[in-house]
Symmetry: C2
């Protein structure tokens, strides 16, 4: 934490990034289109949904990102442009072309992301003039507006910026994201966009984003449903004028740590604002035989509806936790594992030797009233660790997702 | 269906089976111990939870079932005897010994099953006299009582019996089960017990039970949580005096069909009475590349909280269905699959060519008011099929599982 500092900023804080967030008419009244543009062609890396049914903007953006270069990201909320067939694909190309033309850049250097209802054709009579409006609104302090334009029923905007020094130059990394919520409850699309003025090797950046995503975005869960539109994208435009960052750069660890911090921060914000969530739950698994094992255990606990409803009910139901560890398919000896539950500086051992420790339930009841809770699982099977984050399952989750789309 | 008929019976309908269900004090006031006994040593087969954290009765019963013979099943509700360590294991042995002694049989021929709260030691001062009471209450028409003794917060008892003719002899197969609900919301333990007076080859019976369970109990889901105590057990005592049934018996198909019917019936009852369920959902997947693919797709749809809440809200949100198919990891071409939604004799095509068919949403809204709904997925990737059953996710599920154990 000593190597970087959090600043009051946004994705336009790094040098040479403009952004805007505007209302174009896809939603009823809130901002529904955002644009992020680098002054110069930037190195770009992206990770995309693994859902076989993926939205048109994902398909096209994957292609445009393949050469490792991009200059603009256009994002609409209110319509996912998923399951929209050939026409949906064409609509992405048309939107990208319009964006490129207005910005006077190549359309291959435009990335598009969408979030909202599935299966409704993108209304191009709204989108095309919308692009022009978004370009017209671009500014070097438009990061806040852009963060507003990508959210749907998120209850707050999600952004962060940090500053660090590399090669004696100030480097800024910033991010904005949207989480699980939508105007028309449909799909918990997660979008996250990172900008930095650091000069970063393209291949290194892609690998760093993949590794970081595996440990952050891929370790959060609201309801276990993988969206058709998920996307994380980072643009690095090099305007900080540091020496190019790759695995051999003497200060690479500093950059990796800062980059990880940004992404973990965004990932946690998404879960904290999960649909209907009243509790934020961190699961840390230590001493797994493999990292995959540690990840499986964390995910298994966080995805258990029984564990989630118990947290909602503030019930220290340790049986459900150990049950969900049991069906995680990780390798461990049941009688050896230990499970702790509590808050960061007050963790109580609840399970050992295959059974309850006989902890004081009254003390636990008090702890469970906290909003941020933690589960620590010691698998005693190796030395690998994993962390994951989730939320509880409340009446409001059912309400939000059980209501009619209209 | 022509080869067998459903009769008004229970697990004591097959010849030579006595049963009882009694109140011993594990629950507040309802029956909480059941006993099923064959007059003669029976062939037995069992399938057990795959949860690595499994309850003491599962561990011991697996051993006792290994030689393919058993004569009695003792079941308690109100206490799962899971995560109870060495003492829990000893308590199972003690209970089995007491049961064997009272029945004058070998304790290796006793099977035990438990359901209820995890991690609480079995109160042996209640269980031991309870066993004596259960033995004393045994009768040839005790099947109904036994079915009552195994349920927890199930809203009705689950039993079925059918009659068929093999080698000119009447053969009866009967079953009882309990589903997802408990006095102290904790674990959705599924227990199912089948009796038959058919003479069946032991190895054939075990394989038949495994194959049937894979297609029935293993294809239902209430919340995706695999219990520590799940058990399905069948006893065949041969008293119908048919020729021994194995794969080569000329009427084997008739027996397999009847056996499958019993188990599918019990499995469906469990889901219909799922915690908080207001809708029963059948998913049929056809033309999968492999059976595993077809199963994955069915399970993926049925386990999606977003699909489940949409059904609760009577919302024809087809986007969520195709999304959950998309992340199932099955092999198919998105643009080729077709999805139908509706009721048995009124299925409406909702997805084709990767998008909506533009079906009439008003007609769909009417259909979705029905209690029993069906989804049919045509993967167009092969010829394998699978069926699965689930329920919606309602406020009551959250309420039941969010409340304090006490």
């Amino acid at each position: 934490m000593d190597d970087f500092k959090i600043i009051d900023g946004s994705i336009t804080s790094p040098k040479g990034f403009k952004a805007s967030g505007v209302y174009i008419g896809l939603k009823k009244s809130k901002k529904d289109m955002s644009l992020v543009v680098s002054d110069v062609l930037a190195d770009v890396a992206g990770v995309f949904t693994t859902n076989k049914v993926c939205a048109a903007p994902i398909l096209v953006s994957k292609k445009n990102i393949a050469n490792g270069k991009a200059q603009a990201i256009i994002i609409n909320s209110g319509n996912a442009n998923a399951c929209t067939g050939e026409k949906g694909y064409e609509n992405v190309i048309t939107t990208m072309n319009k964006t490129a033309k207005e910005l006077d850049i190549s359309s291959e250097d435009v990335i598009m992301a969408s979030t909202g209802v599935i299966g409704v054709p993108l209304p191009m009579d709204i989108v095309i003039p919308g692009v022009k409006k978004a370009v017209g609104a671009l500014s070097y302090d438009g990061g806040q507006s852009a963060a507003e334009g990508i959210i749907t029923t998120d209850t707050y905007i999600k952004k962060v910026a940090i500053s660090l020094e590399i090669d004696g130059k100030e480097v800024i990394i910033a991010g904005m994201a949207k989480g699980s919520g939508m105007i028309e409850p449909n799909m918990a699309t997660m979008l996250s966009f990172i900008t930095t003025d650091a000069k970063v090797d393209g291949k290194f950046l892609q690998q760093l984003l993949k590794d970081t995503s595996d440990k952050t975005y891929n370790m959060i869960t609201v309801d276990g449903d993988t969206s058709t539109n998920d996307m994380v994208c980072v643009m690095a435009n090099g305007m900080a004028e540091n020496n190019i960052i790759n695995a051999k750069h003497p200060e690479v660890k500093k950059f990796i740590d800062a980059f990880y911090y940004i992404n973990e921060y965004m990932a946690k914000l998404i879960v904290q604002d999960g649909e209907g969530a009243t509790k934020f739950i961190e699961v840390e698994v230590v001493n797994g035989k493999t990292q995959e094992d540690a990840r499986k255990v964390a995910k298994s606990i966080l995805n258990s509806n029984l564990v989630k409803t118990a947290f909602f009910g503030e019930d220290g139901n340790w049986g459900r936790i150990i049950c969900s560890i049991g069906y995680s398919k990780a390798d461990f000896v049941v009688e050896e594992i230990e499970v702790f539950l509590g808050i960061e500086d007050n963790m109580i051992k609840i399970v050992e030797k295959g059974g309850s420790t006989g902890f004081d339930e009254k003390v636990m009841d008090e702890i469970l009233k906290e909003k941020n809770l933690k589960i620590l699982v010691d698998l005693k099977a190796g030395s690998e660790t994993a962390k994951g984050w989730g939320c509880d399952l409340s009446y409001d989750y059912v309400k939000i997702n059980g209501s009619y789309r209209s």
